[in-house]
């Protein structure tokens, strides 16, 4: 991969109406890279600047200083025109937290068509994209339904379909699973993984849930507007103390192993284990004792 899809260089942002306190930056000197087809999870407690970072990438907000590149183009350039912004948003899709507040039309397929319609595509091409997108999120049979009658997870998958239909290179999920029940969350996570693995769309998953972040290629932990930890899930989650410092939790399996290591003197390496794997290791260890 030659150059990254998204690149942030020392980006700083402050909300205009934030406290008078000096240096109260929502995003403070953040540098990060997201490659094509990569699955990146961004973790952080409330107010750590993760959502703000996402909005900066999509030009909903404008950075105060620093540079942001999307597909090689500097979007912090002062000479950005309306059309340039349009191009950026075409490449980077975004799915938000509340599914109700991002569905525009009264029929599912009309809503999925909203994005492609804005791109000014040919009606036939729109039809094709809508059908494909609904197929991808497994909502084909709901094409003619009214969105308000669907469950939270289904609505969120419609919102995802609406973004996929625009064929972006990257989709940012801004706590998109936060308002869903466990079933809905599972559905949406499966959809996200499929998009990444099968369609090769880069994913930026902003989340509170550790077990979602574990599935990513790369994890970025933010604290007070800065990047605090960065690495593969194994690298990040093997430092539970640091995660606790950032106001986060640790995946349950890691927390358990950490406790066993400390209290019983075990020496199980701190890694992200699947449930069965974790059980097996602990069982073996206990048998030996």
């Amino acid at each position: 991969m030659s150059n990254p899809l998204i690149k942030l260089e020392n980006v700083t942002f402050k909300y205009p109406d934030s406290e008078i306190k000096e240096n109260n930056f929502a995003v403070n000197n953040v540098s990060l890279e997201i490659n094509k087809g990569e699955f990146v999870a961004i973790l952080g407690h409330n107010g750590s600047g993760k959502s703000t970072t996402a909005k900066l990438i999509n030009m909903i907000l404008t950075a105060e200083s620093g540079k942001i590149f999307v597909d090689g183009k500097d979007i912090t350039d002062e000479n950005m025109t309306e059309d340039d912004i349009f191009e950026v948003r075409k490449k980077i899709g975004m799915v938000f937290q509340n599914p109700d507040n991002q569905i525009v039309a009264t029929v599912v397929e009309e809503d999925v068509a909203f994005g492609p319609e804005n791109l000014g595509l040919d009606p036939k091409e729109i039809r094709k994209r809508v059908d494909e997108a609904l197929e991808l999120v497994n909502m084909k049979e709901y094409a003619r339904h009214a969105p308000h009658k669907l469950s939270g997870g289904q609505k969120q998958r419609i919102a995802i379909a609406g973004t996929i239909a625009m064929k972006p290179q990257c989709i940012i999920f801004d706590e998109s699973t936060a308002m869903l029940d466990p079933m809905g969350r599972k559905d949406v996570m499966n959809t996200i993984k499929r998009l990444n693995k099968v369609e090769g769309i880069a994913i930026v998953l902003i989340t509170h849930y550790m077990n979602e972040a574990v599935q990513a290629d790369k994890v970025i932990v933010m604290k007070n507007g800065s990047v605090y930890l960065e690495g593969t899930p194994n690298q990040v989650f093997s430092q539970p103390q640091k995660l606790w410092n950032a106001g986060l939790e640790v995946p349950q399996s890691i927390e358990l192993i950490d406790k066993l290591n400390k209290e019983l003197g075990f020496d199980i390496p701190l890694k992200v284990y699947a449930l069965d794997e974790c059980t097996e290791i602990i069982k073996n260890k206990l048998m030996k004792e």
Binding site: F96, N101, P123, H148
Partner: protein
């Protein structure tokens, strides 16, 4: 809780399949025809068109009648008003209700006028509800308005924006109704009382519902606007549609009928003067 617009009656009829723009045009012409009509044959023609439309649409007559319920009071009121308070020449009934003080007189002309007026209202309402709500979905209607009124864009009428607003309103009505129920329950749980007390007290009790509802609606609007921008929305310019409305043979036939209808009414107006009512 969606009686307000859940009145679309699903059937696969000719009337259902008509282009919404053709329906819009028909309704405008129909409205004009009703006011132009002056003789018995014109009225018969309009009634015939209404009844055959209902038959063709395969919407049950009872449903159309049910839809007329809300205007029932208006019809009765105007009929009574016309019956007793207008004067004519031929006396039909003369009743001395209070001797030497008040005589109730009903004239033949008033009776006819009242009947015609009631008929006008009923036919107009039946046709409007049939064409606009029973056989047309709200989306088709907004699409029809947007494309049908597109020429007005040239004189800077914000047609697209208006249609978009209608779509979003329709989309959010059920959401906001749900929200209202939630807020009401929350306030009831805090001891609010919405069903007792006088008018003023009840109106005041609504304030703790309306304010949270507005705050939430504004927040939703803000989030929706951001989401729309993220999906590359920038107004109607350069925007295409997935479903393009196309006039088919049946739409042209329908428009021909529409033209024949108004022509018939105008001609009858001129040549059937003797049958004026």
């Amino acid at each position: 809780m969606e009686a307000s617009f859940g009145v679309y009656y699903e059937k696969d009829s000719v009337i259902h399949k008509l282009d919404p723009r053709a329906k819009l045009l028909f309704m405008i012409v129909f409205l004009v025809s009703i006011f132009v009509a002056k003789d018995i044959f014109s009225y018969l023609l309009l009634i015939l068109i209404t009844i055959s439309s209902i038959l063709l649409s395969r919407v049950p007559f009872t449903l159309v009648l049910k839809g007329l319920k809300p205007i029932f009071v208006i019809v009765i009121f105007t009929t009574i008003l016309n019956l007793f308070w207008t004067k004519g020449e031929t006396v039909l009934v003369s009743l001395n209700v209070i001797p030497n003080f008040w005589t109730l007189t009903i004239y033949k002309e008033s009776l006819i006028r009242a009947g015609v007026l009631a008929l006008r209202i009923i036919v107009l309402m039946a046709c409007t509800s049939l064409y606009f709500s029973y056989t047309t979905t709200p989306i088709e209607l907004t699409d029809g308005i947007e494309t049908g009124l597109a020429p007005l864009k040239k004189i800077k009428v914000p047609v697209h924006e208006f249609a978009m607003m209608m779509t979003i309103a329709l989309r959010f009505i059920p959401t906001l109704i749900d929200e209202t129920t939630k807020i009401m329950n929350a306030q009831k749980a805090r001891g609010a009382d919405f069903s007792n007390g006088g008018l003023v007290k009840r109106a005041k009790a609504l304030i703790p519902i309306i304010i949270p509802l507005f705050v939430s609606a504004f927040r939703r609007a803000d989030e929706l606007a951001t989401a729309m921008e993220c999906r590359c929305y920038r107004g109607g310019n350069g925007r295409t549609r997935m479903k393009v409305l196309k006039m088919k043979a049946r739409d042209y036939i329908f428009l021909l009928i529409t033209i024949l209808m108004i022509a018939g009414v105008v001609l009858l107006n001129i040549y059937a003067k003797g049958y004026k009512i």
